[in-house]
Amino acid sequence: MNVSHAPIASLSAPNEQAERALAALWTRPPGLLGWLCSTNHKDIGRRYVVTAFIFFGMAGLLAAAMRIQLAFPENHFLGPDLYNQFFTVHGTTMMFLFAVPIMEGFALYFVPLMVGTRNAAFPRLNAFGYYAYLGGGLLLWGGFLVNAGADAGWFAYTPLSGPDFSPGHRVDIWADMITLTEISALSGAVVVLATVFKQRAPGMSLNRIPLFVWAQVVTSFMIIFAMPAVMVVTAFLAMDRLAHVNTHFFNPAEGGDALLYQHLFWFFGHPEVYIIFIPATGMVSMIVETFSGRRLFGYPVMVLSLIATAFIGFGLWVHHMFATPIPLLGRSFFSAASMMIAIPSGIQIFCWIVTLWTGRPRLRVPLLFVCGFILLFVLGGLTGVMLASVPLDLQMHDTYFVVAHFHYVLIGGAVFPLFGAFYYWFPKWTGRMLNDSLGKWNFWTLFLGFNLTFFPMHILGLHGMTRRIYTYVAETGWGDLNLLATVGAGIIALSVLLFIVNAVTALRDGIFAVANPWLAPSLEWSTNSPPPAYNFYNLPSVSDAEPLWHSPEQKPVVVGLSTEKREVLNTTIMDAVPEHRYELATDSIWPLALGIVVTLTMTFVVFTPWAVPWGMFFSLLVLYAWFWRGNEPKFIVEAAKPKPQVAAQPTLVAPA
């Protein structure tokens, strides 16, 4: 047996001098400016995760306020105007500023490590993506703080969101925030795909890619085909609203159509929920594999299920529109398609359970969260199947039944895996272990609080409680269950607090983490915790899907990459055969500059269409600087200068 907690020696630096030299090449320049210029995937991934988590906290606090307002009939905690802003900003933040970016963050941090390379492809694009995301978040929340918080719901149906019924700039800010976050998601997707296509370790053929990476590949493709729809629809909306433009895409009086908006939005919106869910299944697969101590059962069907989910996911959007006046036949088709998607999801559930069944499960905190995930997601998925039936949906649509469904699949299906992933990868990320017993408390309070909050909502929905209402009369009899839900939300808040406490104390004085604390099989665990700036001194090669479980020390390593330029190895798309070397861009200030220009453009376009040509002009200026190699600020050039190189590379040559 050769699996161990230690880093893989053959991938590490032969001596300290060599390690320092390579570290100097890949480390970002010092100081705040250096930090802003960083193009290291670990810096960027971490930024995404931390920022997204803060947005989760803030959107969660809004939810808590909404729950207080709903705790009693005719409560006066929030008025209608505030309440409407709260749920819109809550939903928008959770979807666009939390769930998608945090998954993206995990991808950017771990995909390069898992495929065995030194940095993600297109490092500057990657850095820019984060700034665009941050800009979008600041725009939305900035607006919210000056009483211009979006208030038309997270899908902002026209005509309510149109110029006639939403005067002011609330909706404009919302639409422009979407554009910024989509730019970010799209750049992240391109980076992930190029990294996985071209930078995999030699030997990592398609059937040896870790499932988390597969999940991110599938997700990235979904982003590429789904996000343009929301950019188009928000652009139409913004043009309809903007003074001096005033188009009529959605104005029925001039041949526009409110249903066009819904089609375009949900053509994006449904895939969006799988963009959130599929990466989470990737996390679950990794955790299940590690803690059941055996190869994941049914790897090929798992991959096919992901792909099938993505494909079918583009054919379901109309199930959000069953109540609208659209032809019956269309509805039946989308109903059948929506039920069909239970098959790939079911396959995944079955494979995970079988893996646990035939393995030797160690019930550590990450696995605990995965168990919670399976229970809650299956429940949420089954209510999804109910909603897929047109007659049932017509009763449940736009009620708390739907609110319950999507919190079960979003929190059960994505937030539980995320917490599991935090406990699982925190050691790799920070070099410290999170506290186990606090983790168990964290889990049980979350599980309890979650069910208390959201289970009653199913019943409320059946009893006619519609969503997006800021209050209700006592006569309805909804009071008790709402109070229960509010109590549950309090427990969730406590649980989140426990997690924050756990993370903060672990960062200060948690136990140090070894390279592979969980005896996991994938490559990110072969290097130190936290990984050095360059990830691997010698790049790994792989010959199976669980590299660390099969004689990792004996596998050939890659040598011969430049020690003076940030070079990575490019391999072929299918079989990952070494193909050529590739120099990555250095750290740079221009991604930040472009991020600022783009954010300002989208801010000013709230007020005037002239922001577009100006924004384009300045963006092009920045892009010229960006591409004009060799004009990086001096301190970066200095920092990137080759350092004295001492260690000789091993020169053994072996069969590839």
Binding site: S10, A121, F122, L125, L186, A189, V190, L193, A194, F197, K198, Q199, P202, I224, F225, P228, A229, M231, V232, F236, M239, V245, N246, T247, H248, F249, N251, E254, G255, G256, D257, L260, L264, N538, K555, P556, V557, V558, V559, G560, S562, L569, N570, T572, P578, E579, H580, R581, Y582, E583, M616, L620, L623, F627, W628, P650, T651, A654, P655, A656
Partner: protein, 206 residues
């Protein structure tokens, strides 16, 4: 350490073909853009279902004309298609690292780009309706405008590479960049064929 190694120092340090990550990055970008145009086309047909007269008539404007002028538009289409030829010549020249051809070819491409942009503005003035008349006019203006944005970025990209090859010469990596830019340009020309048909022939034939 007795591990076998895979020595990659002998592999090429750069390539200029489709094995390069940037080539794939560009391809993915084109997926995004193509999806975007496909959605615009889809919206065009969706909106069309709402009109009994397509393009719509307006009662308040006598002789309301909805057929966009064909003259400049067709000229522009031909220029765009023809522009693929010099682009292709530059593309080939990059493979040979033929600095002279690339320099002049790229300069020509910038000029052609400026011509198509100028022609596009004439196309706009050939529209006898404003973008804010109705849904039809909105989608037509938007398709033209979105494509214009691509003409501008494509030309700006070509200008950047032109400046580079004039001032800094040509190496494999920049030859690759030029070639990736060429793919982008082919795509700009190619998508315009169906879009032209839709915008200019659609109102006449649909």
């Amino acid at each position: 350490m007795n591990t076998a190694v895979i020595d990659v120092s002998r592999l090429p340090p750069a390539v200029e073909d489709h094995t390069s990550p940037i080539w794939w990055g560009n391809l993915l970008l084109l997926f995004i853009e193509t999806t975007m145009f496909a959605l615009l086309v889809g919206s065009y047909f969706y909106l069309r279902m709402n009109f009994t007269n397509w393009p719509p008539v307006r009662s308040d404007v006598s002789l309301y004309q909805t057929d966009p002028d064909l003259g400049f538009a067709t000229a522009n289409l031909l220029v765009l298609i023809a522009s693929c030829v010099p682009m292709f010549i530059v593309d080939r020249a990059c493979l040979r690292l033929d600095l002279r051809s690339v320099r002049f070819g790229m300069a020509a491409m910038v000029l052609i780009g400026l011509v198509t942009i100028a022609l596009r503005f004439f196309e706009f003035s050939g529209l006898k309706f404003r973008w804010d008349d109705n849904a039809y006019s909105a989608i037509v203006w938007t398709i033209l405008g979105m494509h214009l944005l691509h003409l501008i970025t494509g030309t700006a990209e070509n200008l950047l590479m032109t400046l580079w090859v004039w001032f800094k010469g040509l190496d494999i990596r920049h030859a690759r960049d030029v070639r990736v830019g060429a793919v982008y340009w082919y795509w700009i020309a190619l998508v315009w064929i169906p879009l032209y048909a839709l915008v200019y022939l659609g109102p006449r034939w649909l």
